[in-house]
Symmetry: C5
């Protein structure tokens, strides 16, 4: 079952639905994708409204009335809806294609009248997955596409609800920033989980190394690779939002995006940190295993090298030769036992001198 | 047999046919290369034509009549044909030499009246191979050279066939883009295969490590290296198509090539991902082997250390000394067996305390 | 207990207190943070004053009277105080948020009327921790925030006390430099400690490799990673202080900051050096372990291969067959012992030829 | 003997003949270097001449008469000759010193009236060595210095001989290009050899790992490092020939040098490829060794754990106690044998369940 | 004793004498540093003078009379002398501090009227150490500070002595170049030593791997790291001497410094080369050890698996059962010996088939 989950995820991660050679901009819908639900949130400093909208056409009304309109689409299972939204906002067909092919790298593409921003959101359930969030930022609207329904942006809606908040005083660019910032901040809990997992593994790997840890470490490294692919390009993307001159983003908002950039760097920092530590863990594991093996070998060697000569002596006096004078000695038996004891003592002293017996006892307190 | 295939491929990968010191631009034909077949596809928004052309001269007619002419040459086995094509389109002799020496890195070279683009196409049969595709993009023509006949570009021909399609409305630059894009998209199925192979190996390497996996992993890493050499330079090449100002490529097409660039980055991303994971796999394998060895050593040590002292005692009482009082005790035999049982019990308790027996039973469920 | 310390520290290192999606610039106080104590140090070339200040308002007086005012806040446990300071100096809310979220990377942010500098200070008690120091440098003031009370800056206060000192002759920019420089110089003792630890480990790992060293090395590498995260970004930050043209920093002070930059590079150099050596140590450890195992195996093999054939011979003459002529030979016993001695001698010569016995004796002097 | 060869080569690789502190530009001749032989090849589109020249002065005549003069010096064993050449062409003393100290990295130095180009030529005899080729390119001459006599440039002389060839139509810059290109192309056969060696090693290392492969791989990696040092700087050097504006090189020749640059990149590509694969080979070797050891340990463990208990039982019934009831049973012997058989069967079943016996038989077909 | 030396050196390598927070530019003298000796060498094309100078003041006379004055200070044990020199030449206090804190990285700092150049000189006695050389280059003087007395610069003095030499014809910049060049050339003998050590280790590690090599390799790698820290920054420093426009350095001297830069690159090249090879050596060592262990295990396994079954059979016929028919057979003894011989033969054939015996005999010639 676990296998199944992993396979599915992996395949997801690079399956492009359009066949090689097919026309670019083709909107090929994943048959399993949920049908889109459209939510419109429109606000001005004075007032705000939040509606579920049945069809694309009815959005037009909001756009003409409100200074900032946020259209949030959850689910990508209907090409028609997405095409209509593309027409309504005059979006490029390649951008629309990227909305639907949900395996894009994070990026910022600058079109004449809008920005197209792609972010990956960490989704930490059983195993790590990342979902694509596509953001179109125009003069007075923000259009977001999520793969599935979620309550991820409820805190932002709450801030819009709060009349005195800065978000209500600002334009669409600030809203886009808020959404972006919330996505980036969502990486911190995911990283926190990996931080804890690493600590647990660190303790376990040294105390009782076992094969299951190797696969745990390996899976964690793979997950961190997935996160890495999701976050590294984000850095460049967010940076281009700060640098590119544009009328869509005010200078004040740029300062906020700079903060966002800082957070991205922090995420990357932690990520690389964990990757380094996880990389070390395998080495630590191998060292622990080697050390264990060493201890086992010592025990085996101590036992074998002590008893093998003794057994040999016993064997000698178990021979059935007619003429073996010792056998008839009065204290022959004691003599034999004495030789054995002496041999054993010599061996033990030798091993103690080599520090093996000490090591072996240290092993007990291990 | 397998050896033979590999050797051949490898040698192919760096054998340059021209001897060092020979004149540049010499068209030295590989004697095993198939003879060229020329196909011309010409189209305007209103109409289109597709012909197999017997000789180079007859191409001239198409060039004067149609706004976009695509000349596709399959097979590089005839220097004469290629030289004539070079004269017809006024191509540089060094570019022609690169067409024939099919081990070029992907690149874009900008000549005055045309672009020379080299791409490597992934060819996933038994083992991975890459073939060279050479593209000349001029004002109103696209000239492509493939190493062998193939139906790789049938989807593009289908799109040309479709009268309403964007490709029919656009110029030669868009056609070149479509060809390039189809080549890049062809890497995804190849990568998909490696993704699956990695997953299979991940499971197997941990469950039952064996030497055959090492060579499988090693071969996969080598294949990924080949892919890497084919894709990394592509990034820079495609980027130069976007950046270089030129009248051959329209701004609209540049947006499409930017999409192409995105796909190249995605391919590189996945590739590096797989390389990282494959690199880890060897470590995982070594850890599994070490762990196995550890378990084997434990079993050996448990058996040996328990039985060796017992055997020694049996040996002692097998000695033939005249004067061994225990031998004549009534319950001497039971006494000896008792000592043995006690010794064995002590050892077992010791090993249980060290957790070896538990580990050993865990081993059973491994 | 040690576990607890480590866990806490780690968690600290990435716990962001603001929930994802919450408004930026929210001053969310860590409930365990100590309440702020404000100390004001103001000076001119002629005179100086040093006061503990009860509330923020009373700072205003110093600012109007003195050419350089240093406000040092120790403890971040009161949002109100920090907000008031922000209003007094007209600081950006994002900068204030960064003051309180004490897990920032070192950075320099340039605002219109002030610089915002974040540094991490090494704190070497039981285990390495880094604390955040936030510096605001304005026209005539330096405002610093520390996480906890400390006497770290006493040497600087002593230099301010010294009337003839350069610091008294200079402006706020020189004071900020002095604070920054003292933070960077504080890394040297921390590194010194790691240098000594590495030397100790180097000796121990080779002489008597044990599992505890693996975790020691691993912890040290992790600590060095923490230091690295604290120092690397500092380089860029300090460099931006040198490069950015600004009226807040005089050319003369820039020369001093260049010196500061040099020290940062030295810290980074040493750090990378130690990281390289520590990385090697694991390899050295593994080699030592392997070598030990080799010696153990040799001993085991020598003993076993010598005694097993002898024991076999003893076993043969211990058989109870009726018709075993040797048993009745007069010197049968001596004959058997002779064969055994001969066999043992052959084995010993063989091992000496292979150099094992020499190696084994060398092992004694090991 | 082999040792001697290697040592010599190595020492060569960094021995600088001038003592530290000695005056720069000192022409310190290697006493073992062969005496220089000067060959002059002069040509115009219409005619050509090729002479061995006894002394430097007689070159002057060629320079005044022919549009392109190639002076090729083979052997660096006479300071006087080289100094005179330096005077004749007005070469900088540091350049001349570099000609004689034949351990320069490839580089291009641009002087006012000439280019000074240093290339390393791969020399693949028993072991890899690289020789230095120094090229001076002036307005109408090319002056080349080789360490020893060779027929390396015969193909170029043949091309000069060919009246219709491009080389005869072009200037000195094209000749310099031809020489450079021939040097770079000479790396391909060397790489081909390493490619084949890697393939051989790949097969052998997995099938029958032995210690000799480790040193073979190690030597190959070292050779590849030597090649690397010879080729990497070449890339930058050739690139500077393309980029630097100069009247000595025509635009047409620049296109040819661009081709040369492509070849350099191809060489680097292959080189890095082989280095990666060779790096993997050590890992593969270690895995194979570990796997072998595992199999050996299994066999040892199977044998020991089966026979040790049996031998113990035999030992018990070999004891000489008076009162051992089983000894007098009628079928006591059979009873003992039965127990032994049962025990052995149990062990075998256990090992079969663990898959060891299967593995062991698989081992046979290994 | 060896320990002591190492510790001292290490500590040296990062001990900064000024406490964190102390005033910059404080001249804190190392109490163990030797007292400074000042030597003045002044020259013009026509004449030259060389004097030991008792105090700083008397230098003033030379400066006014001679076109080039070289003041060489050996020993840094007196703050007063250094401070006076600073006043005489108007040197920045931070530069003077760097002269005394002899753990600077190589660097070039450009002040208005002079250059401040720091280089590290390799000092190859028992173990590698680097000493700091501080150079001030002014209009008509070169001021150098060495840590201890040395005859390192005698060759340069000899060149000054030589009336016709270039150094006498040139200015202070050429003298500074000559000093710098001599420092860089001094790295070659140090590298030569490591090159030889590596070769020796390569042979030894494969032939008879022992633990002492691990620490030898480890120490060598650490030494190479020290060299690396001394040389890498030199590259950038020397490069800045070439690039920075300045009236202190003539164009002609720049060409010489370019040569110096080339040598630096060569040193770096060799260094990285040796680091790569040394890094490989540990792997080679581990492989050799693994291989040895494998051979030992084979011998152990062959012996054990052959003799254990034989001993078992002997044990069986040593049992004391009344009713053991074989014991009474006439040829029972021969029968038993026959079975044993057959078993041994079977085992030997099995091992020969597995190639172990061949391997074992190969082992003898190892």
């Amino acid at each position: 079952m676990k296998k199944g989950i992993r396979s599915r995820k992996h395949r997801n991660h690079f399956h492009r639905r359009n066949a090689p050679g097919s026309s670019p901009g083709t909107l090929m819908i994943d048959p399993q994708a949920p049908r889109p639900k459209i939510k419109v949130t429109a606000y001005s400093p004075e007032s705000k409204i939040e509606d579920a909208v049945p069809d694309v056409e009815s959005i037009r009304g909001y756009l003409s009335k409100w200074p900032v309109v946020w259209i949030n689409v959850e689910g990508l299972g209907d090409a028609e809806t997405i095409r209509k939204l593309g027409q309504l906002f005059d979006l490029h067909r390649l951008a629309l294609e990227d909305v639907i092919n949900v395996h894009q790298r994070p990026k910022v593409e600058i079109y004449k009248s809008y920005y197209f921003i792609v972010v990956r959101m960490a989704d930490l359930r059983d195993r790590l997955e990342t979902q694509q969030l596509s953001i179109f930022l125009g003069k007075n609207y923000v259009l977001t596409f999520q793969e599935t329904e979620s309550n991820r942006f409820d805190p932002i809606r709450a801030r819009i609800h709060d009349k005195g908040g800065r978000i209500r005083q600002s334009g669409a660019d600030y809203l886009a920033y808020a959404i972006l910032d919330s996505c980036i901040d969502n990486y911190f809990p995911a990283l926190e989980k990996y931080g804890e997992q690493i600590e647990t593994l660190e303790d376990k790997v040294i105390l009782r190394p076992g094969n299951q840890f190797v696969s745990e470490i390996h899976e964690m490294k793979r997950d961190l690779l997935i996160l890495r692919r999701a976050v590294w390009p984000l850095r460049e993307a967010v940076n281009s939002l700060i640098r590119e001159p544009s009328q869509l983003i005010t200078d004040e908002t740029r300062i906020y995006i700079r903060d966002c950039y800082d957070h991205t760097i922090q995420v990357i920092d932690l990520l690389e940190n964990y990757r380094d530590i996880a990389g070390d863990l395998i080495e630590v594991y191998l060292s622990s295993i080697s050390n264990r093996m060493n201890e086992i070998m010592k025990i085996l060697t101590i036992f074998t090298t002590i008893f093998i000569p003794l057994t040999f002596i016993a064997g000698v006096y178990g021979m059935n030769f007619k003429n073996m004078p010792e056998l008839n000695w009065k204290y022959g038996y004691l003599f034999a036992l004495g030789i054995m004891a002496a041999l054993a003592a010599v061996m033990l002293i030798y091993f103690r001198k080599k520090g093996w017996l000490g090591a072996s006892s240290r092993l007990g307190t291990f």
